[in-house]
Symmetry: C2
Subunit: 351 residues, 2 copies
């Protein structure tokens, strides 16, 4: 496999102690590649970064309307949530409106990402359930779709189930890649994840923003889901987490969603652009820092509003500054070339 | 910086989803390099991997004898412990014998690595203290050394303090590199970490095993510390953790110690060999898997006794097998060449 460049350096003292390699793609919703740093053609699993795309059947099928789902229930269907009370309440509400039970969730259980929620479970002498899984909202949405469409609710997570088949078709159409069963891996929460090139994933996120190339129904569904996420960024991830912080900071300028193993995507509806980052080693610290720097270049004012995510200071247990996370020279050079390209693309893209 | 090869692949479905690059050095105690995969000349911070070397002044200065320290107190001085009751007890005992208080520890506080210990603190409504820091035993040993030598116990963690100066000289002598203040980074627990080439670090671990090139006093101190760790591997790390599992499995065939940011070292006293691994991205999963595979090649029978650490199966939240951590082709090829070299070196090395 070709070598991806170093994107992020982790310094300590005078040295680069660790580093994160990877690839970045910025594509507009006409499929034009504005930035391709590293191997953007190699297939990668999009994992939880595509939850908003995986939620499209929930709206497009009419299930969301039939069950009277509100923004918080749609946002949680797109979420990798922290398992705090607000998230659990939204998942329970979605399940209840669709006449479903927690025991039907096939995602498996893990301790909440939220320390507070974990501590509350521990204090109560409880163990985590499927509802605490960061994917429980996505699973609730898939279940609701199955029920609304009159499909078997059992096995909704299996690749041959109608809900997963619909998701495969939607991902194929939006990203412009014919995804097949052989491209499939099984995600942490047991649903399929279909591998596709990073550039295609970025193109899909570009189209998500303004509905380019979508049927009117799909465009309406996609925009309703993004609006739900913009209305409640704290539901999409959780307190103190990257996606929530960035969407709070940038408003509806950027829909941002990360996934496991170093995947992160963003859609910039105002610019008609999509971004996708994959860090080779799968570490979150590298991935989030790359995305923060790309967003800071593309979104006007984001270099100031994203001061938190862009702050790479590493402090030790006593609070001493011991190092920094910083963009590599390769990433800096690539980003310097970006604004000119971006301005040209934005001017020529349909509004 | 030259490109290090991929050492570990992380698969999902039919694809390599993530990968970990790095360097590996295997050196004998005469300084002969048996394996140099990747850049073994670039300086890296050894972090907590050298805690046993950092503990040498505690014994060599006579402090351990003067305070009547036993194996458990010496093992905890070499440890990155989990913060379980057994670890806290050993640190407290070391402090008490030297007439020291917990409040003198300069390592800063973090939640115990042990989930059980964290849950116990939470249930008791307590927050973590410096004693729960995985480095508290090392700090207690440094403090005891300072007190025994009549040095100020305040500032014992500062680079100019006599204890840290002694450690810098000892690391320089054992690893055969003149370490200077400009090579220094500050560790997570606030003591200096001096950068040195991976090959030199491996050579230092080779010499640690049989005391090659050491004064009789230093050899005695080093061997006493290693014996203490072999006597209680559960103190050096903790239940379920790599170093403890490996030392339980291999007995006194291998002293193994990891550090932050992807550093891991081993000393094989029986073979007079030292190993050092640095994974570029700093992730533990990559580093431990590399070391397990190198040990499995070098130590007779270790391919069976290390079945646990060598098992790369990745299971998701429902227990489904979704992928594997496995050695890269580059690492496999390098390891295939190793046993012949090793057999030759072991035959010619002094016993």
């Amino acid at each position: 496999m070709p070598d991806n460049p170093t994107l992020i350096e982790v310094t300590r003292g005078r040295l680069v102690e660790s580093s994160h390699r990877g690839a970045v793609a910025v594509v507009d919703d006409q499929g034009r590649v504005l930035l391709a740093l590293g191997d953007v053609a190699r297939p990668i699993y999009p994992r939880s970064a595509v939850k908003a795309l995986q939620a499209i059947p929930l709206v497009e099928s009419g299930a969301a309307d039939a069950f009277g789902l509100d923004d918080s229930e749609l946002a949680i269907a797109c979420a990798s949530h922290s398992g705090d009370a607000v998230h659990i309440a939204a998942v329970r509400s979605l399940l209840a409106k669709a006449g479903l039970k927690e025991s039907q969730l096939a995602c498996g259980a893990h301790w909440p990402m939220s320390e507070r929620a974990t501590q509350e479970l521990l204090r109560a002498g409880k163990s985590p359930q499927a509802i605490h899984n960061n994917c429980s909202g996505k699973h609730a949405g898939m279940l609701a779709t199955a029920v609304h469409r009159g499909l078997d609710s059992r096995g909704y997570e299996q690749p041959e189930h109608g809900v997963q088949e619909a998701i495969r078709r939607i991902l194929s159409e939006i990203c412009g890649v014919a995804l097949a069963r052989q491209d499939m891996g099984i995600d942490g929460c047991s649903v399929p994840s279909f591998a596709l090139p990073l550039a295609a994933l970025a193109a899909g996120f570009a189209r998500l923003g303004r509905g380019a190339g979508m049927t009117p129904e799909r465009k309406k569904a996609a925009q309703r889901l993004m609006r739900a996420c913009f209305a409640a960024p704290e539901l999409v991830a959780g307190e103190g987490r990257f996606d929530t912080i960035v969407m709070h900071a940038l408003g509806d300028a950027a829909f941002v969603k990360g996934g496991a193993e170093g995947i992160h995507c963003a859609s910039l509806p105002g610019l008609g652009l999509g971004l996708a980052v994959k860090v080779d080693d799968g570490t979150k610290r590298g991935t989030e820092m790359v995305l923060a720097h790309v967003l800071a270049k593309l979104v006007a004012g984001a270099d100031r509003t994203l001061a938190g995510p862009l702050d790479g200071e590493i402090r030790n247990w006593r609070g001493l500054k011991v190092g920094r996370l910083q963009p590599s020279p390769e990433l800096e050079i690539a980003l310097r070339a970006l604004p000119r390209l971006n301005a040209a693309a934005a001017a020529s893209a349909p509004r």
